[in-house]
């Protein structure tokens, strides 16, 4: 019976992954795809923000770079949007080194303040950049020219693609968590001075974490642009893009393996259903709720839901943090 909860958990997870294929309802399938996509960027944020404790509000820049890379590749080069994804990843590496590295001198609040300013700066610059569509943004292909355009009427192919990317990210996170990098990052997250005095090469490992985190966030942006077929400065670089990553990680449990996924599974369906019921996402009601959730988590349960349910952390029952 010792392994019973784990077996149950795996069965439940398998059922959850398969469920969208079993339902015929396109609304649910779309929600499932969006959930998987949100889980990718939240889990990517979690690497540096959760494990490493570097609370970035600027990850929208990576997301925007990925999204714009795919639609720029399509509009300027005529190639399928997904071909822009590797370019986005390359650009994200450059950003991590050029902008991330100097920002790592800053600790705690100072780092977060800098990331907010960097994201705001990027949004203003893109809005005024005519080549990338300015304030209007960019459109993807209207109808598929070939399979490579990845334009499907159903959300299921996207869902399968997103789950595959998510699984590889979580696989990486799992291995990292057990390895040297995981220990270094967690040491960093629980006290930067202490980690440094113990000889953790903090700037190098912050950079490693940011490189992976930024690359997957950029990939999430590219996948978003491929599926939605439209991007503008707000939906790519806006602060709310970062907010989604932060709130999902914090709700499920920042610095845990499955925390961001659980946060996405709770929040994306909630947001999509309320938007469907209240008519459009412009009312802002969802973000009132997000703000309240963030405050409640900070006030009562800084470890997120994982604080109450150690299995979420992927460490089994005894390894509760």
């Amino acid at each position: 019976m010792k392994n019973f909860p784990r077996v149950l958990l795996i069965a439940a997870a398998a059922a959850l992954v398969a469920a969208p294929f079993l339902t015929g309802n396109p609304f649910y399938q779309r929600i499932a795809a969006l959930t998987a996509l949100a889980a990718i960027s939240a889990s990517a944020w979690n690497l540096i923000g959760g494990y490493g404790g570097q609370v970035s509000f600027g990850h929208s820049v990576y997301f925007g770079i990925g999204a714009y890379a795919s639609l720029l590749a399509y509009t300027k080069l005529g190639v399928p949007p997904i071909a822009g994804a590797p370019l986005g990843v390359l650009a994200s590496f450059a950003l991590s080194v050029i902008v991330g590295l100097p920002s790592f001198r800053l600790r705690g609040h100072y780092f977060s303040m800098a990331t907010i300013a960097i994201a705001a700066l990027a949004e203003v610059l893109v809005t005024n950049w005519g080549f990338a569509g300015g304030a209007i943004g960019l459109m993807g292909p209207a109808s598929p020219r070939s399979l490579a355009d990845l334009l499907f009427r159903s959300a299921l192919p996207y869902y399968a693609l997103f789950v595959a990317v998510l699984a590889s990210l979580l696989g990486f996170t799992y291995l990292m968590q057990r390895g040297r990098m995981g220990f270094y990052l967690r040491a960093l997250g629980s006290g930067e001075r202490a980690a440094e005095s113990l000889g953790v090469p903090i700037r190098r490992y912050k950079l490693y974490a940011l490189l992976v985190s930024g690359a997957f966030t950029s990939l999430a942006g590219s996948l978003y642009a491929v599926m939605v077929g439209f991007i503008d400065p707000g939906s790519g670089f806006g602060i709310l893009v970062s907010v989604n990553m932060v709130v999902m990680s914090a709700l499920g449990g920042a610095g845990t393996l499955f925390g961001p996924l659980v946060g996405a599974i709770i929040l994306v369906p909630l947001e999509e259903t309320t938007n469907a019921l209240l008519g459009g996402g412009s009312s802002g009601a969802a973000y009132v709720v997000y703000g309240a959730i963030i405050m409640l988590i900070a006030r009562f349960s800084p470890g997120g839901l994982a604080q109450w349910w150690p299995l979420l952390s992927g460490k089994g029952r005894r390894g509760a943090a």
Binding site: F57, I116, A285, Y287, M295
Partner: protein, 285 residues
């Protein structure tokens, strides 16, 4: 002449920036907590001014103090209900708590008041004075002068009064202050109240000449960060000088580079400053 005009416009605007930034720097200096909702406090104050005028028909003599009182209450409430509990918790909780508050205020305003821009009538504090070619609008003059006086007042409160000494004692060492009979919690609640009230006054003054919208707070938060960073974290005189400087930078860059770039200049300045001197230009290491 145009440079002089831009300089004076910038100084008047900068005085208002200085006022709400000194609220942020007070809170930061007292307890090492950054209020990510600071600009949204300004936004709330702007709506207080707007609704006080449209619903009650009162002018700035009434709505500026009203905004100050409302925001004082909001500040104390935020400290007592939220910040007090997270300030010694994990860094993540400290940072996201006021960020969550910012989202909550911003989108509650969007939900309640819609995204439309509203503004007070230009004629509320009307008139333009002409000083030998230098044009000064009455609303900017009122806002700038009031803000300047109040910022200096806050500095005197902190450095010349018994209350200020108590607050300083708590900020230097909580435990030691408690040992000599100063209870830290009321002092810190007061710091939040005063810090928020200063944004209340500043917001109501800005509303005299600036549009009001739920999302206006984001840029004010960043402006306050830049000001506090430039002036040194925790320093009110530093915030005053920095606020004036940023007002001038904004007004000059908006004129020569176009209005879209006025924020770019300020944000870029902020990021560079943080990279080069994380403790602030005038701050101690």
């Amino acid at each position: 002449m145009i440079l002089l005009q831009l300089g004076v416009d910038g100084l008047l605007l900068g005085a208002v920036y200085a006022l709400f930034s000194s609220g942020l720097t007070l809170i930061w200096g007292m307890m090492n907590v950054v209020n990510f909702a600071h600009g949204d406090f300004v936004m709330v104050a702007m709506y207080v001014a707007f609704f006080a005028f449209t619903l009650l028909g009162v002018g700035p003599i009434v709505f500026v103090p009203l905004a100050a009182i409302t925001l004082f209450g909001l500040g104390v409430l935020v400290y007592v209900a939220l910040v007090r509990h997270v300030m010694r918790g994990p860094m993540l909780a400290q940072i996201i708590s006021t960020f969550g508050l910012a989202l909550f205020l911003r989108y509650a305003a969007l939900w309640l008041f819609s995204a439309n821009f509203v503004s007070l009538p230009d004629t509320l504090v009307g008139g333009v004075y002409d000083l030998g070619g230098l044009r000064l609008s009455a609303s900017h003059l009122l806002a700038g002068a009031t803000a300047l006086v109040l910022t200096l007042g806050m500095h005197l409160l902190l450095t010349r009064t018994d209350l200020g000494s108590r607050m300083l004692a708590v900020s230097e060492d909580r435990t030691a202050a408690a040992l000599v009979g100063i209870r830290p919690d009321p002092m810190q609640a007061l710091a939040w109240g005063i810090g928020a009230a200063s944004t209340g006054v500043a917001g109501a003054l800005i509303a005299l000449f600036f549009y009001v919208s739920p999302e206006v707070g984001n840029s004010f938060t960043l402006l306050a960060f830049v000001t506090v960073c430039l002036g040194g974290f925790g320093s009110v005189p530093g915030a005053l000088l920095a606020g004036l400087a940023i007002g001038v930078i904004q007004s000059i860059s908006a004129y020569f580079l176009g209005p879209a770039t006025k924020d770019v200049a300020v944000y870029a300045l902020f990021v560079l400053l943080l990279w080069v001197r994380p403790q602030g230009l005038l701050g101690r290491a």
